[in-house]
Amino acid sequence: IYLVAESKSAEPWPENATLYQQLKGEQILLSDNAASLAVQAFLQMCNLPIKVVCRANAEYMSPSGKVPFIHVGNQVISELGPIVQFVKAKGHSLSDGLGEVQKAEMKAYMELVNNMLLTAELYLQWCDEATVGEITHARYGSPYPWPLNHILAYQKQWEVKRKMKAIGWGKKTLDQLNATYVTPVSTFRPTELDALVFGHLYTILTTQLTNDELSEKVKNYSNLLAFCRRIEQHYFEDRGKGRLS
């Protein structure tokens, strides 16, 4: 969901463009961190400057209810898909060089990553009782006073569980999740798909969770590890911009 006025797309990318996400240290969860990292990687790949601001109410500020969202000039756009569209309207695109077939493939892979990886992360965070009890619940409610911290965490958990049931994920185990992973091939010129995959894989590898099954499974794929390392080096360390925690 995004707001783009035709006349605005002609304006250049401002210096003070800002990306909003939850608090890095104590609050943000695996899935949101992955989504935010994907957008940051994408903007780095496009060479567009972005400042990251952490706010406890970022999820509620977002027009679609999902993080991250960017505030560029007068506009507020949330989620990777609409942000890619918005950036394209301003004349920056990573996938211009691709043919129609490749573009369609890329879109399909992005859908897959969202359906598989993102859903796996959500399942792990909110439906695995051990993780919920030890990490998610406390982190999600951390900026709020008692009893609001518990109320909001339970409310979110109930909402995610309901969505999981609706798409038939209520009973899946991590084994089944991992069996359906597809390894995307990284191209010489990175696309938004690479940004998305990097965001998720890097977060999975670097976040300490109670249940390590997911990160262990990812570590088994050596080319995925190499891919993450390459993106991290090239777009985050080399440029001296944006540190990854």
Binding site: L3, R55, A56, N57, E59, Y60, M61, P63, H71, V76, Y144, P145, W146, L148, I151, L152
Partner: protein, 469 residues
């Protein structure tokens, strides 16, 4: 007015007041002392018994407290007066639908020659009363269901429940009220509620879920209320085009506050009073009993009324308030004051004065507003004595200011800021009184002192509400 029956004690002089015999309705007549009445007045009587007919679930102790004075009456006129007062006290408990008083001579073995029996015939309210309404508002329809359980446990406790189910929002409220037996003005109540509001002037939507406990007590002529309130507030943008300043305030917060309110009201009516004054002072301290919102809030309301010649009334009112955030978190849009509108400074759009961002009004931390009014009967007095009495012509002068205060500059700077760029307006119109609760106004307004950013409503403005500047 109710009916008071009394049987004559001995043959009356022919010019004395008429008392109907038993079984006939009789209007209560104020008895003026006349020389021929002395027979009645000077006759010593003793109230021997007070009976109650029709008590069901009501407990005895609260009744005894209300009618204690009746026993102290020394002559017939006093008995009638004290019985009438007792009847009023019983009605204000809110547990009886009807109270009739019957005064008779004492019968029976222990009857004194001047002994009287007073009987109160009461009809209790039903255990459960319900109401069902439908309301239509701005592009929204809703069903409102109300339930009331008066006199729940026999001591005038009351439970009310209201539920509103609408196309857009749902809200409800549950409240339990208990007065102290014998001292109705000392009472306490507990409330649970969920209320949603939409504020288009700020592009803001607010949902409050909360509970409160309050205790009211009188001190001399003033009425005090001490309250604790805990509210879970959820703020959100009303539309995609909300300004970023309002978007930044979206989310959840928890306010836990203690407040104290004092009211002195000597007016003869709360809507279009003719005389008397009102002073309300309210202070609220949030943050020390939990929650994540911390401030001290103070506001007051003053109104003076004076009747002039030709049935006209002059009224002056003054409102003001201040919000001081404690700690380094800025104040929340849900706690700030707003100014402007048909019930506030007329001639300006609803809550559309003061700090704003991209057309969304953000409210302010300090404000004052004042009004001078002259109410006169309608010209040429149509419908005099009847329907025309509900209307008044109205000439007014309103002024006010609202701003945020940059603390650290000292109180002189604050006062100076509130005195700069005052918004004011004048005009005339018609006021219609609705029962004893609300009023409607239709005014022609001329706003002045308009600052950039304010939204005005010059010309005809319509207002409906309970509390007007």
């Amino acid at each position: 007015m109710g009916t008071v029956h009394a049987r004559s004690l001995e043959p009356l002089p022919s010019s004395g007041p008429d008392f109907g015999g038993l079984g006939e309705e009789a209007e209560f007549v104020e008895v003026e002392p006349e020389t021929k009445q002395e027979i009645l007045e000077n006759k010593d009587v003793v109230v021997q018994h007070v009976h109650f007919d029709g008590l069901g679930r009501t407990k005895d102790d609260i009744i005894i407290c209300e009618i204690g004075d009746v026993f102290k009456a020394k002559n017939l006129i006093e008995v009638m007066r004290k019985s009438h007062e007792a009847r009023e006290k019983l009605l204000r408990l809110g547990i009886f639908r009807q109270v009739d008083v019957l005064i008779d001579t004492c019968q029976g073995d222990d009857a004194l020659p001047n002994g009287l029996d007073v009987t109160f015939e009461v009809t209790e309210l039903r255990r459960l009363t319900g109401s069902y309404n439908t309301m239509v508002g701005n592009n929204e329809g809703s069903m409102v269901l109300g339930l009331k359980l008066p006199n729940l446990l026999g001591r005038a406790e009351k439970v009310t429940f209201q539920f509103s189910y609408g196309t857009k929002e749902t809200s409800y409220g549950l409240s339990f009220f208990k007065p102290r037996p014998g001292n109705f003005e000392r009472n306490f109540s507990v409330n649970l509620y969920k209320v949603t509001g939409q504020f288009p002037w700020s592009s803001l939507r607010e949902t409050d879920r909360g509970m409160s406990a309050e205790y009211s007590f009188p001190i001399w002529k003033t009425s005090h209320t001490v309250k604790w309130e805990g509210v879970w507030r959820e703020l959100g943008c009303l539309s995609r085009t909300a300004s970023f300043a309002v978007r930044k305030e979206s989310g959840h917060s928890l306010k836990s506050s203690l407040s104290h309110a004092m009211v002195i009201d000597s007016r003869n009516s709360s809507i279009l009073p003719r005389r008397g004054a009102l002073l309300k002072v309210n202070q609220e301290l949030a943050g020390y009993t939990g929650g994540d919102v911390s401030f001290i809030k103070e506001d007051f309301e003053l109104q003076l009324n004076k009747q002039l010649i030709f049935d006209s009334v002059f009224s002056a009112s003054l409102w003001g308030g201040m919000l001081v955030p404690i700690g380094d978190k800025p104040s929340s849009i849900a706690d700030r004051f707003y100014l402007g509108g048909p019930t506030s400074v007329r001639g300006f759009s609803m809550h559309s004065i003061g700090p704003q961002s991209e057309g969304d009004y953000l409210g302010g931390e300090a404000y004052w507003a004042g009004g001078l009014h002259l109410y006169t009967p309608l010209p040429f007095r149509p419908g005099q004595g009847g329907f025309g009495e509900l209307f008044r012509t109205h000439f007014f002068l309103n002024a006010g200011n609202l701003c945020n205060l940059n603390y650290g500059e000292g109180p002189k700077a604050h006062i100076r800021k509130l005195a700069e760029c005052i918004r004011w307006s004048y005009g005339a119109g018609i006021v219609l009184r609705l029962g004893n609760i609300a009023r409607l106004e239709l005014n022609y307004c001329i706003p002045m002192g308009v600052q950039t950013g304010d939204r005005i409503c010059d010309g005809v403005q319509f207002g409906a509400g309970i509390r007007f500047l």
